[in-house]
Amino acid sequence: MILRQQRQSALRRVLILGTATGALVFGSSAYAEETLKIGALGVMSGPFAGWGGVMCQTFKSRAGMWNDDGGVAIGDKTYKIEVVCVDDKGDPKGAQTGAEKLVSEGVKYIQGPNTDSTAESAKTVMEANGTVNMPYAFSKSLYKAPASQSILGMVASYQVGPVIYKWLMDNKGVKKIAFVSENNADPIKQRDEGSAGAKALGLEVVSDQETYESGTTDFFPILTKVIGTSPDHIVLSGVSPSDVGPLIKAARELGFTGTMSTETGQDPKAIYEVAGDASNGFIAAGGASTEAIRSDFMVKFIERYTKDWGEWNDVAGLYVYGPEIMIQTLQSAGPKAIEDTNVFKAALDGFVGKNPFLKDGGELKYVGRTDYGQPRQVSVPIVVQQVENGEYKPLFVGKLPD
């Protein structure tokens, strides 16, 4: 059924867009009056399509909800949100061209990119044009001065990691910890930060040099070696959604009995589908979609997303914070910020927004002063949760340092 739905909508879309081919040349300006164009730039094809694709879909669904409510009020006017997604294919060259494309269409606010290499390449464009973007990448040079246009759109793994490790030390008696990661910029960076964090907590890091290549199907060889160091806990650093299930499954099949975790957002259903019962107890940072803590608004969003894209993806619960805080900040900064991002940036410091996704509400604000010297990170609650039969059960909710 899911399949058919998607196909039908796919077909319709192609037909509609096909007839509009004539008008597509360099972006239409039909709605310019009351429309606020916001971009999403990320990897939407290839092995990492799960990141940029979900980011784009999340944003589109959230924008759809705003528009259904009549739009977003900024100052005196109400704006409809139009989301323009650009696929950078995970290619730095594509990210730069894509960023230029969004800029040329008058976009001032962008979600993404999703990886260090694409975010770094887009940065040159962002800085030159005064465009604000929210990368989901952890390279510090994106957020530290002289850079000023990028805001980390999520909780950094090296912030989540220690929180989880501390909890594990206190509650599960973990002493020895091992890290496994894919041999790629972001995962390796997260591994290194995670490993340093674990050492700082006094954990014994028994293995943190093992990496596997993108596209590996069989993780037995790599995990054999990791498990050989007999860790109590294995961290899958920056693991891509496509690898997490097979990794958990392989570790359990190799007889690993300790705990496992990752700091990035993962979809529990997908993990459960691949790893089955082996996935139970797997710890991941997530959004706010678990039943115990989510608000009614979150439920609505989940419904909307499911309606738009056929199936809920828990990662969307993480990506939805970016657009939310971006729009809320715009509202608080006022209409001038629509054209001038300096106004927006100036508003970051004192901004306090509402978190509509958690039952208990809570604040949305910007942090990162300690890490970057300026508020360049979205502060969202760290929801640490555990997979149980394809669902997340929340373990605890942590907070980011200022």
Binding site: C56, P92, S117
Partner: protein, 345 residues
């Protein structure tokens, strides 16, 4: 010098004789004028389009190298690997040693060419799919090397925040002013200059005796060697020239993006360089340029289709190969030949 001789018994259509209908110098001037005058006048204020044209020019520059290896009958999937080498040479020299970009640019090409020569010497003995596969392995090996030696390449983290090109001066005379942050025109002109120089050199090469030797290698290496042509030497020369183009192009992209990662150039890039040569037409020096322009602009135009962009793009690519297996230029040439024939009749 060349006498026109009547040809009894054999009826040849014009396409069977090497025609000079694409008048090279005029075409070169046209491309130069279009690029350096028309585009900046029309789109000078549009950063996105300038970036697209810059990328097109630089990518077709790299593709010229692939075209040359096609000319000697080799399917070269190593181009992205050598571009990555060039990119890292520039990144390392510029960021660690503060060497001027203007020295790094040709130097990256030279390093890539040198490595290409060393690797090419044994590898070029292979032909067909074997050569294609081994060059694919080379591209992967380059990426993995960049990942595996962080002391030099900073591993997976890449080398970031590369400085923009500084002023190029000779005897106190400023030839090229320093690039300003956010200014796109300098890169646009630089890419265009590279592209035109690359095209000019390819044209010189192709129409010279060396070009004829290269073509003979594609068609029959044994026959060529029986005539005293040092086949091994010439194919290594072709490969080195190709790698030089890759290295320079890689250095350009590293500077344009101000960063380099192991994933900056990958197998898929190699494939696309090949695609551009093909779509344009392998018989024509300007083939890679035409192919890059057509394919990249159609990809950009397909942005509106959002998540169907890649499907439609690859579908178009397949159609292109199905309908024009010898490239766009061959179709144009055939049509003009037909028109000529018709007007003669």
């Amino acid at each position: 010098m060349q006498k026109t001789i009547s040809m009894p018994n054999v009826n040849l259509s014009p396409s069977e004789q090497r025609s000079s209908s694409l008048k090279p110098i005029g075409l070169g001037l046209l491309i130069a004028a279009g690029y350096f005058l028309a585009i900046p006048l029309a789109f000078g204020a549009n950063g996105y389009l300038l970036n697209v044209f810059t990328t097109m020019a630089a990518v077709s520059f790299i593709s010229f190298g692939v075209w040359l290896t096609f000319a000697i009958g080799r399917i070269n999937l190593a181009q992205a690997g050598f571009a990555l080498i060039g990119a890292y040479v520039t990144a390392i020299l510029v960021s660690r040693l503060g060497v001027s970009f203007w020295i790094c640019l040709p130097l990256s090409g030279a390093v890539a060419a040198l490595l290409g020569g060393l690797i090419g010497w044994p590898v070029l003995r292979l032909k067909g799919v074997y050569f294609a596969m081994i060059t694919l392995c080379i591209t992967e090996a380059c990426r993995l090397t960049a990942l595996s030696f962080p002391a030099l390449t900073n591993g997976a983290q890449g080398i970031v925040d590369l400085p923009l090109p500084s002023e190029l001066s000779l005897f106190g005379l400023t030839i090229i002013p320093a690039f300003e942050k956010g200014a796109r025109l300098p890169f646009f002109y630089l890419a265009g200059t590279l592209m035109l120089l690359g095209l000019w050199f390819m044209w010189l090469l192709d129409t010279s005796r060396v070009g004829a030797v290269f073509r003979s290698l594609r068609q029959n290496e044994d026959l060529a060697s029986s005539l005293g042509i040092n086949v091994a030497k010439y194919r290594v020369v072709a490969f080195m020239v190709s790698c030089f183009y890759a290295g320079v192009g890689g250095a350009f992209f590293a500077t344009l993006q101000q960063n380099v990662y192991p994933t900056t150039f990958q197998v898929l890039d190699s494939v696309y360089f090949m695609v551009y040569c093909f779509v344009g037409g392998l018989e024509f020096v300007v083939g890679p340029l035409v192919g890059a322009v057509v394919m990249m602009s159609s990809f950009e135009l397909l942005h509106e289709f959002q998540r169907y962009q890649t499907v439609i793009f690859s579908g178009l690519m397949i159609l292109c190969i199905l309908l024009m297996p010898n490239g766009i230029l061959s179709v144009i040439k055939r049509r003009s030949a037909k028109l000529e024939e018709a007007s003669n009749a």
